[in-house]
């Protein structure tokens, strides 16, 4: 018995020692004053090379925390006055819009806002779009004939689509799409479409990844997602029997959803923060979004990738929270009331 016990003690001693070391060192290394702190809802795969490039070019030291956009927005709100965050990068307008409503963002100056079309920044100038993803109907090419594909997203409530179109009711992009529908067609039309999808027994999934995975497997023939998830799946396996269907020109269904960035009102590095936003809208960065991450560049005059339809053929309504009663919260309520999420 004594031998094993002493071995046990030795192992634990090592662990205790490392814990103490960690406890002593950690606080000391977290208080660097002149670093630019970034909370990024875009994962490191989708933006780290750009941030590193910026840091190298300008000599600015950066600290980046990656996470879910909504959770990071909650974290910033929880941090309140003590927040050291300078720049927030969001996967969707929802999270950045939440911070806008809380009054935690600062107004961007006009020269920055002018880098993109008016559709791609907030009405109050507190956030600006970085890149775009388009809503599409992803479909399994073994199970769906091209002739069956609808011209409008509104057709999906037709009888022929019963049980065949997957949706992700709690996903931010789906909610943004419903919000856009409310803006263009009104709450009643949006509610009617949602009930139509419910009546059609549309299967629900948790997010875009789950829908694309299920469609490529053939579990469900079609699904409403952002265009870029399939690109990523085809990257892993070019033989997957799936394709993106873009709705007709100008249709509600092919909404462009922007990823966005904002500078915090409490930032003490506004100069560096501004340079970063400017850099992210520079041709170099915008080309990265278009060529490396399969997204639409939003800065004026930057060409898009060839694999996706031209931006001019796509409905580019942005979601203007200011002009919409109840905003995204009302959308979430409509979706919950519809019973789609069951």
């Amino acid at each position: 018995m004594p031998a094993p016990r002493s071995r046990l003690t030795r192992a634990w001693k090592g662990v205790v020692a490392s814990l103490c070391a960690v406890a002593l060192v950690a606080p000391a290394c977290s208080t660097d004053e002149d670093r630019l702190t970034i909370y990024s809802g875009r994962t490191s795969d989708l933006i780290k090379p750009l941030l590193d490039q910026f840091s190298e070019d300008t000599g600015t030291k950066i600290d980046v925390r990656y996470g879910d956009s909504a959770d990071l927005a909650l974290l910033i709100d929880e941090e309140g006055d003590r927040s050291e965050v300078d720049v927030f990068i969001s996967q969707s307008p929802g999270a950045v819009g939440f911070l806008d409503e809380q009054g935690t963002l600062s107004e961007l100056d006009q020269s920055l806002l002018d880098l993109v079309d008016d559709d791609f920044h907030a009405g109050d100038g507190e956030w600006i779009g970085l890149s775009g993803r388009v809503r599409v109907l992803v479909y399994n090419t073994d199970l769906v004939e091209e002739s069956e594909l609808p011209g409008s997203v509104l057709d999906l409530t037709d009888e022929e689509f019963v049980g065949r179109v997957a949706v992700a009711p709690n996903n931010g992009s789906f909610q943004d799409f419903v919000t856009a529908m409310r803006i263009e067609l009104g709450d009643d039309a949006a509610t009617e479409w949602l009930s139509g999808m419910v009546a059609n027994d549309s299967p629900t999934y948790s997010n875009n990844t789950a829908i694309v995975e299920a469609v490529t497997r053939g579990e469900v023939p079609m699904g409403l997602v952002n265009h870029y998830y399939l690109e990523r799946a085809l990257d892993d396996d070019p033989d997957l029997p799936a394709a993106n269907h873009f709705f007709d020109e100008g249709d509600m269904g092919s909404l462009l959803i922007t990823t966005a960035t904002a500078i915090m009102a409490g930032s003490d590095q506004t100069e560096d923060a501004r340079s970063l936003v400017e850099f992210l809208l520079s041709e170099e960065a915008q080309r990265y979004f278009s060529e490396e991450t399969f997204e639409y560049p939003l800065a004026r005059d930057v060409p898009q990738a060839e694999s996706v339809p031209a931006l001019s053929t796509i409905n580019t309504t942005t979601i203007d929270l200011d002009g919409l009663g109840g905003g995204l919260a009302r959308t979430a309520e409509l979706i919950q009331d519809s019973g789609l999420d069951r």
Partner: protein, 524 residues
């Protein structure tokens, strides 16, 4: 006759309980300042429906995990099933699958169009049932949570000397009768403790129910967490209240457990399965096929096709840092979790104390809250407490958050472990003049070790897959395997996610073997 507790022990326990009460305090304060009234929340039909679905799911999962966990524990601790040691290492592993990727992988294997269908195709099976809803969530959660029962029960059986079972056998009881009349009553506290953990885990789970389309209460919390935060927090409070009620109820059931004390001997008892040896082996293998092989098959499939197409360069994946981070922080957390809850376990088990019950309840009930609520509450605690605010987004606070989230797992195991030390040994040592610390080190520690290792093992495996607190509270740039998997899944980079999840499985298997299984065997 239990003695009155030393003041220092009581005071320490109260302090520990207060820290564990942080999530509850956070929820109460959020709801208090918000404009959502609890009364209107709980009377809402849809909230009641969601709550009911949560309770149904958690009850079903708890029941099945209790049966499976106990059976597998007995199998690895007592039977002569072939490859018993291999089973001992493999059986706890499903606990390490983060539910968002575990459920995705399992579904990709056994759902329509999945890998299993292509295997069964030649045998005339062409459409498997879809894994989703209540059935799918029950299946996935049972497969990924039964180790909460299996590890503590196996530890209890190891700590329990075989003498009673041997006596029962010699008195003519058949093996099955021995199991039901001797083993089960002795393992009852461990089974109840593990089952409670499973129930609370199922209540708090978001990843699996979200992916499998079962609208439990956590989905409503997540769906509203940003835009209707007051509502989400009020719903969190509802979960906390359910957890408190269930935890208190379980304590009442477990309280009267009489623990017999078998004589510990050098040899451990092995029950011969006789002609059932290979059928039982087959059954256990079939079970692991579902719990481990099915999800792993998808992970391997994703990884392989990424390598084939060239989208995944294994050499460039650079997983060493996340591996070391994951292993390091989870070992530290497991140790801290065991040490922190030990005073509570002693207080509750050895002494008469009024604070022990509420303190234990506080530690356990927090496990029913979704990870994001725990993470935000630790942010709140850190930023609003002098001294602690200096530790915001540093390792000590991250470890504290993990411990608050997973302490429930070690406290139940620790209580069972303390309870399984024969009081008469301690009394004998005291009469021989041994001081308290000497008794603790020489008598209690060795006897408790298997139980504590099991509790620490649960914390270890849980910490390895933790996501919300890691993303919000880790020092900048601290990557774990779980954050890697999450990030890849977010972008639908399944090859990367698959590789990182496989590595997570291997690392956790190694750590379980070295720190939990092998330790327990050495101490036999």
């Amino acid at each position: 006759m239990r003695r009155r507790a030393p003041v220092a022990l009581s005071a320490t326990s109260v302090l520990v309980a207060l820290v564990f009460a942080t999530p509850l305090a956070y929820l109460i304060s959020r709801v208090a300042v918000g404009d959502v009234r609890m009364s209107s929340v709980v009377s809402d039909d849809r909230v009641q429906d969601a709550l009911w679905r949560t309770i149904v799911l958690a009850s079903l999962v708890a029941a099945s995990a209790a049966v499976i966990g106990t059976a597998l524990a007995w199998l690895v601790a007592r039977s002569d099933v072939p490859y018993r040691r291999v089973f001992a290492v493999l059986v706890p592993l499903p606990l390490v699958f983060p539910s968002f990727v575990g459920a995705l992988a399992l579904r990709a294997s056994v759902s329509p169009g999945g890998l299993l269908e292509s295997v069964l195709g030649p045998f005339g099976v062409d459409r498997l049932p879809q894994i989703d809803g209540l059935f799918g969530s029950w299946l996935v959660l049972t497969l990924f949570t039964y180790p909460y029962v299996q590890l503590p029960v196996a530890a209890r059986l190891r700590a329990l000397g075989p003498s009673i079972e041997e006596s029962a056998r010699m008195l003519g009881r058949r093996p099955l009768a021995v199991f039901f009349q001797v083993v089960l009553p002795q393992a009852r506290t461990a089974i109840a403790a593990g089952t409670l953990l499973v129930f609370l885990y199922a209540v708090s789970d978001f990843g699996a129910v979200d992916l499998l389309g079962y609208p439990a209460l956590t989905r409503v919390i997540y769906a509203n967490r940003v835009l209707r935060r007051d509502l989400a927090m009020a719903l969190g409070l509802v979960l906390a209240i359910v957890a408190l009620i269930v935890t208190i109820a379980e304590r009442r059931v477990g309280r009267n457990a009489a623990v017999a004390q078998g004589l510990r001997t050098k040899h451990s008892l092995t029950v011969s399965l006789g002609r059932w040896r290979w059928p039982v082996f087959g059954l256990a293998v079939f079970f692991l096929l579902n719990a481990i092989v099915a999800p792993v098959a998808s992970l391997v499939h994703w990884t392989r096709r990424g390598i084939t197409s060239g989208s995944l360069e294994v050499g460039d994946a650079d997983l060493w840092t996340p591996v070391l981070n994951t292993a390091g922080i989870s070992m530290v957390t497991a140790l801290v979790a065991v040490v922190v809850v030990l005073p509570l376990a002693f207080l509750a088990t050895r002494y008469r104390s009024r604070v022990a019950g509420p303190a234990l309840t506080m530690v356990v009930a927090g496990f029913a809250l979704p990870g994001i609520v725990i993470a935000l509450s630790m942010v709140f605690l850190s930023l609003n407490t002098p001294v602690l605010d200096a530790f915001y987004q540093t390792f000590p606070l991250l470890v504290l958050a993990y411990v608050v989230h997973f302490g429930a797992q070690s406290v139940r195991a620790a209580s069972v472990a303390v309870g399984s030390v024969p009081g008469r040994l301690d009394d004998a040592a005291r009469m021989l003049g041994a001081q308290r610390w000497r008794r603790l080190l020489r008598i209690d520690a060795p006897l408790m070790a298997p139980g504590l290792a099991a509790g620490g093992g649960l914390v270890l495996l849980s910490t390895m897959k933790e996501l919300p607190a890691t993303l919000l509270l880790a020092p900048t740039g601290f990557e774990t395997l779980a954050t890697r998997i999450w990030s890849a899944t977010e972008e639908n980079a399944l090859a990367e996610a698959g590789l990182a999840a496989l590595v997570l499985l291997v690392v956790s298997g190694l750590l379980t073997w070295v720190l939990v299984v092998r330790r327990a065997e050495l101490l036999d």
